[in-house]
Symmetry: C2
Subunit: 244 residues, 2 copies
């Protein structure tokens, strides 16, 4: 028995999300097809996070447990040779059998990119907005997010989860030329959480709500209290950290 | 009569080049379709450079002469609203009538990006190579390019041009993490010139030719003396400078 940890980069534009679905082009579907050729006797795959349709990854983590063993560098090359161009294995290494891509993860980091100028080259990876948000208000919102621990208002209504608690380790905006990047690190994320946070912060940034109103939304525990869901294309699973 | 200077950004991946061709999706074709809606009585369009199929632009320059006049900011917005997502007008301004996108240009800058690690996110914009070139040899080649003024060996055989002289103002490689970017600025470029230069330099970088052999290729005046043509996807028309 061998357990491999793979770090994946993918351009989510042309996928119906990570998770395998019949009749759809998914990251997991493509990855399993490539793994099938190398491990015809079977394997067991888990991912750190199931990204939605259109969401990208620079550091998705997948573990693959199998009987057959390859040198990690060989496995990486063989997978890259069999994967389509929009999925790449950046790293492959052997890890202990009890290492689990999902349950061993202690921190996940997402970035969300917003551009205030139209862009052709970056269009697959950013939310293009036509207004100029107030950066100080965005910074204030990011600080508010840091102080929260219940995100029930910021997840898809009817989400299947045992609880809505998330520990936020990092939450800040970085400003570039015509570009604004939101960084958030937490122990876990709820479905659509980053996209609803960003969509709502942008509404504060353009003056539709105050930062104080944003803070109150967390108390409501109701999706309807929060604002818009930002588009998937701006979101990227940046990295996943593990205890060991 | 009004003359507009437009700065264009485009992702060349899904275009059969800049120049209009019947039955093909081209940048010029899309741009003319958008201009037709704004200038139904006609316009006269010229571009600084005709990029090939798959080549990108961050700073292509186009001039549009027309009878009808719009405020440049309005023109820019109206064009962006009518253009597909892979072409964007970054700037529009009115210029004197004798300003000509092609003939008034005095310097053009191209970048060529090479990556030595597989990439999903950058795949549309880089040449992915599977070997590690010798960076010092690339630097040496870039210096050699700077000293040349005849590029007949580095253009498509049978190219229609009056002469093969180019004045090189800048030629250097920049090294990032897993990424190598070649910058070249000249008064003019021959067809395929940057791609043949980069393809040949990469052959020097991997040890197939020496830098001295590279230097000799310029004397041959024959395409067969030079090396490979690097793929279009890594090339981007970065900027065009004008005297006025």
């Amino acid at each position: 028995m061998v357990n491999y940890k793979l770090i994946l980069e993918y351009d989510g534009t042309d996928f119906s999300g990570f998770q395998i679905q019949p009749g759809q082009r998914t990251v997991q579907g493509e990855l399993q097809a490539a793994l099938n050729r190398l491990f015809p006797d079977g394997f067991y795959l888990t991912a750190a996070g199931r990204t939605d349709a259109g969401v990208h990854a620079a550091g998705q983590v997948v573990t693959v447990r199998t009987e057959k063993s390859y040198a990690p560098e060989i496995l990486k090359r063989a997978l890259n040779a069999n994967l389509p161009g929009d999925i790449v294995i950046k790293e492959a290494r052997e890890v202990p059998l009890d290492f689990h891509a999902r349950f061993s993860a202690c921190r996940r980091t997402y970035l969300y990119r917003v551009m205030t100028a139209p862009t052709a080259l970056q269009r697959r990876f950013v939310w293009q907005i036509s207004f100029l948000p107030d950066f100080d208000r965005l910074l204030e919102c990011a600080e508010i997010v840091k102080r929260q621990n219940d995100f029930k208002s910021f997840t898809k209504a009817g989400a299947e989860t045992e609880h809505f608690k998330c520990e936020i380790y990092e939450s800040h905006w970085e400003k570039g030329e015509n570009e604004w990047v939101y960084h958030i690190t937490a122990n876990r994320f709820l479905h659509n959480m980053v996209r609803i946070l960003v969509g709502t912060m942008m509404e504060v940034g353009r003056g539709r709500f105050s930062a104080a109103a944003f803070e109150k939304m967390f108390n409501a525990g109701d999706r309807r209290a929060a604002g818009l869901t930002a588009p998937a294309r701006g979101l990227i699973l940046w990295r996943v950290d593990y205890e060991f």
